[in-house]
Each structure stands twice: as structure tokens, then as C-alpha cells.
Amino acid sequence: MTPRVGDMLTYLAGIVLAALFLMPLLWLVSLSLRTPAEVYLGAARFIPEAPTLDNFRQILTDGAFGTYLWNAVKLCALGALGAVIVATPAAYAASRFTFRGKGPLMVGILMVQMISPLVVIIPLYRYLDRLGMLESHLSVIAVYMAIGVPLSVWLIKVGFDTIPPALEEAAAIDGCNRADILMRITLPLAAPALASAFILNMIMGWSQFLVPFILLTRDGQLPIAVAIYNFAGSSSASTTQLLAAACLVAVVPALAAFLALQRLIVRAIMAGAVKG
């Protein structure tokens, strides 16, 4: 097989794969732009003849969907921020100091990442019920934060590992104290690692369903992922185009964030999977 034939086959396979992965999203867009009458035409009307933005207008002017989106942004942003803040000191200590029990501690943190939120949500529901903290965004943020902490510790530690300690030592000789060194030198240099941990946590939080579904029931508090599940439960074949629009509304912010920050995200997945 000549390289040129190989190249053609590579392009062919690439196009088939791209189509396979793109098709579900394109179908979603197609449905969301149709009138109910065109939905019934199925694949024959892949490109709507009379495309309409009415479905989006109906979803977005509902008011409730704006609230769901805002709730999702708020929950996952604060959860992600909390995880990074909590993880950073531990990551710094793990990167810079050697001490007894460090190995088991880091392995323990890694193991927590493998515990399904499903296992802990059962007792958490009971605690929060007793404390009267169900229906509270604060509780959900705290759980998101905890879910994000293990991966954040590892990602940020890898980031700190790449900063030469010599830089810190030089600053210490110049009379900076440890807090100054951290704030002025180490943390700014670790910004890419902090950012990728934050973004990865955001994406995980955006996808979260179980935690808010269990801990929140009041409609005005739900994030978008739970809202579209409830919406799907109340929709029927005649409202498929609205469900498609709602799904798209739920998916587009995550896609946009991903497209803008792809480089950071890919690096974070690699660092997370191939640790050390």
C-alpha cells in the first residue's frame, strides 16, 4: 500500500468518524429549528424548509429556563472555585515537601475519586435533611466541591511540580516570606494548572445530575441538567422540537466553553489520566 493510498483511507475513515460523532448534534439542531409539522417528516426533512426560531423563543422566554441556566452556572462555578481553593494548599504541600505518610495520603485522595457520588448521596441526604439544609444551593455547592477536590489536588500538584523551587528560593533570599512567595510567584506561575482544574470541574459540574436531583426539589432552584430531564418527562411526540431546543440550550454553554478552552482541557485530561 503506497502512502498516498494510506492517506486517502485515513481521510475516508476520518470523514466517516467525524460524521458519526457530529450527526447526533446536527440532528438536534435540525429538530430544534423545525415546526411541529416538519418534525413528522423525519430524516427526509433534515434541512428544514421553513426553519424557525420559535422553539428557542418559547424555551428562552419561559423565564424558568433562564433561571435553570443561571442556577447551573452558579452551582458549578462556585463548586469548581471551592474545589480549587481547597485543593491548592494540599497540592502545594504535596509538590514541595516530603514527609511521613505522604504516599498513602495522596493514594487515599486518589481513591476517593473512584467513589461514586451515588454511594455517599444516601447518607448526605439524611444529614442535610436533619440539618434542614435540603433545598439549599450551599449544600449542592459543597458536594460539587468535594467531588472536584481529588482530581484538582493531582492536577494542581503536577502544575506546581513544573515550577522550579529555585525561583522560590531566590525570592526567599531577597527577603520575601512564604506567603509573599506563594501569592506573587508560585500561584501566578501555576495559573494554567489552576485554570485547567477549574474548567474541568466546571464541565463535570455542568453534567451533574444525581446530586441536584436528590438534594433540590423546588423548581426554581434546579440546574439545567435536572430541568431538561423533568421537561422530557412532561413532553410528548408533539413537543419534540421544544425538547430538542431545550437540550441544545443545556448543551451549548458546555460546548462553547470547551471550544474556547480546548487546549487546557485536553492537557488536563492527559495529566489526570497519565498521572506522574
Partner: protein
């Protein structure tokens, strides 16, 4: 600085958060599993009733079979798909082909879609209504429609397809990184010796990537076992119990049947499987570290 007790101060926030949200609840799940508590009623006594009711339940063999099948099919397909795309990308990069970055972006885009949305999207694609995407396409080209979601065997297949569409990107990234770390000299030497591409794949690529494949297998298995939102939105576990996997069963048991004892007993099983796989993962990582 070493040996200083103050070092643990750096870890205090992490330990408090993980202790409160993970460690204490895990201990409590194990305690609940031996109790007669329901979701809202406190513990009044301890015993093995939860285990007896959960593990003696007629539905459990079906659930475990579903879980095994779903996990096996997903893990094999996720990795095959991830490996295929990764190798394609590496070849494209090497030959300077156009559009490889675009392909990677498209595959990764599916990965950021929330599981619930993923289930709903595939429900619209596989809908058995006359206007469902796949079935209306089949009809356009003159083929008979398929009962994607109402036939038990097909429903399982549909759940796996949805899961693989969304999840392949993770394996792709892991394998892409691993493949690029393989020393190109190996391939050059093999080419000089006249090894065919198939031989190179079998005797260089696969052995060199063995570690990555093993690690990825474990990570993907844990992820697959622990998630159920795609299935919940796609089939709700049906038809009947055809796609009800262990995690979905625990969720239904606790939050719809209020059977906290039984749900906790099964959660302990899920936890035990995850932790065992994690230990294997750690053993693999450490062996790699010492080599």
C-alpha cells in the same frame, strides 16, 4: 520543614471536605446496610435484613447480568473506538494531513455533553415513532425500521451506543498521549526489517501501549459502573428491567422505593467493586513507577 507537624495544616481543608462528604458518609452507608432504616425513618435495629432483601431479590441476577453486559460491551467498544481514532490522528499528524485537529475537536465535543442530555439526544435519534432519525433514514433507503428501544436486546445495544458516542474521547486522549510516547525508532527499525503495518501494530504498538491500555481499562470500567444518567434518560432502565444496571437499581431502590437498607447493601457492593479496581490500578501505576 520535613517531619514538621504543621505540614498537615496544608491538608486540613482537603481532609475536612473529603472527610465530611466522602469518608463519614461511606462509613454510614456501611452502617445503614446493616440496619432497618428507610430514607426518612431512623435506624431502630441492626441485622442482615438489608443484605437478605437486596441480595435475595429475584431481580438481582438480572440486574447483575445487565451491569456485566453493559460494562463489558461499553469498555471494549469505548477502547476500540478510542484506540482507532487515536491511531488515525497520529497517522494524520505524521503525514501532515488536513483536519486532524478538527476530528479531535468533534469527538471531544461529545464528551462535554451532560449524561442526561446525551440520553435525551439518543432517544430522539432512536425514537421508534415514524419520524425518529435512524428509523426514518432506514425507511428512506428502503430498509425495515428497528425496534431500538422497545426490544430488550436492542435497548441494551442502544444504551451502549449512546455511552460510547459520549465517552470515546477520554480513551482517545489517553491512547493518543501513549502512542505519541512510543519511540519512533522502533517503527523505523521494523520498517527496515520489512514488517507490515499489521505486524507493526501487533508487535510494537500494542505491546508498547500495554500499560496505557490496562490503566485505561480500569478507569473506564469504574466510570461505566458508576454512571447511570445516560441510561436513565434514554430508557429509564426499560423495557421492563432490560437496561437496569446496578447503579440505576440502587438509585431507584433508595429514592423511589425508600429502601435505604437494601439500597445501601447494594451501594456497598458497588463501592467494593470500585475500590478493588482502584487497587489494581494503583498496583499497575506503582509497577510502572519502579520500572
Amino acid at each position: 520543614m520535613t517531619g514538621d507537624r504543621r505540614i498537615w495544616l496544608w491538608f486540613t481543608p482537603v481532609l475536612l471536605v473529603l472527610g465530611g462528604v466522602f469518608l463519614i458518609p461511606v462509613a454510614d452507608v456501611i452502617r445503614f446496610s446493616f440496619s432497618d432504616a428507610t430514607l426518612l425513618r431512623p435506624v431502630t435495629g441492626y441485622g442482615l435484613d438489608g443484605y437478605a432483601s437486596a441480595y435475595g431479590d429475584d431481580s438481582l441476577p438480572v440486574i447483575l447480568r445487565n451491569t456485566g453486559l453493559f460494562t463489558l460491551l461499553s469498555v471494549v467498544s469505548l477502547q476500540a473506538m478510542g484506540l482507532a481514532i487515536a491511531l488515525l490522528l497520529v497517522r494524520g499528524d505524521r503525514r501532515g494531513l488536513w483536519g486532524m485537529g478538527l476530528l479531535r475537536t468533534i469527538v471531544l465535543a461529545a464528551w462535554v455533553i451532560p449524561g442526561i442530555a446525551n440520553g435525551l439526544i439518543w432517544q430522539m435519534l432512536l425514537s421508534e415513532a415514524p419520524f425518529g432519525a435512524v428509523n426514518s433514514l432506514l425507511r428512506l433507503i428502503g430498509l425495515a425500521p428497528v425496534a431500538w428501544l422497545s426490544d430488550p436486546g436492542n435497548a441494551m445495544l442502544s444504551a451502549v451506543i449512546a455511552n460510547v458516542w459520549q465517552g470515546s474521547a477520554f480513551s482517545m486522549i489517553v491512547f493518543y498521549a501513549a502512542r505519541r510516547a512510543v519511540d519512533p525508532v522502533l517503527y523505523e527499525a521494523a520498517a527496515v526489517d520489512g514488517a507490515s503495518p499489521t505486524a507493526q501494530f501487533l508487535f510494537i504498538t500494542i505491546p508498547q501501549m500495554r500499560g496505557a491500555i490496562l490503566v485505561n481499562t480500569i478507569l473506564v470500567t469504574i466510570q461505566t459502573l458508576n454512571t447511570f444518567d445516560t441510561i436513565l434518560a434514554l430508557t429509564g432502565g426499560g423495557p421492563g428491567r432490560a437496561t437496569e444496571v446496578l447503579s440505576l437499581n440502587i438509585f431507584n431502590r433508595v429514592f423511589y422505593s425508600y429502601d435505604l437498607g437494601g439500597g445501601s447493601a447494594l451501594a456497598v457492593l458497588l463501592l467494593a467493586i470500585s475500590m478493588m479496581l482502584t487497587l489494581v490500578y494503583l498496583a499497575v501505576l506503582m509497577r510502572k513507577g519502579t520500572r
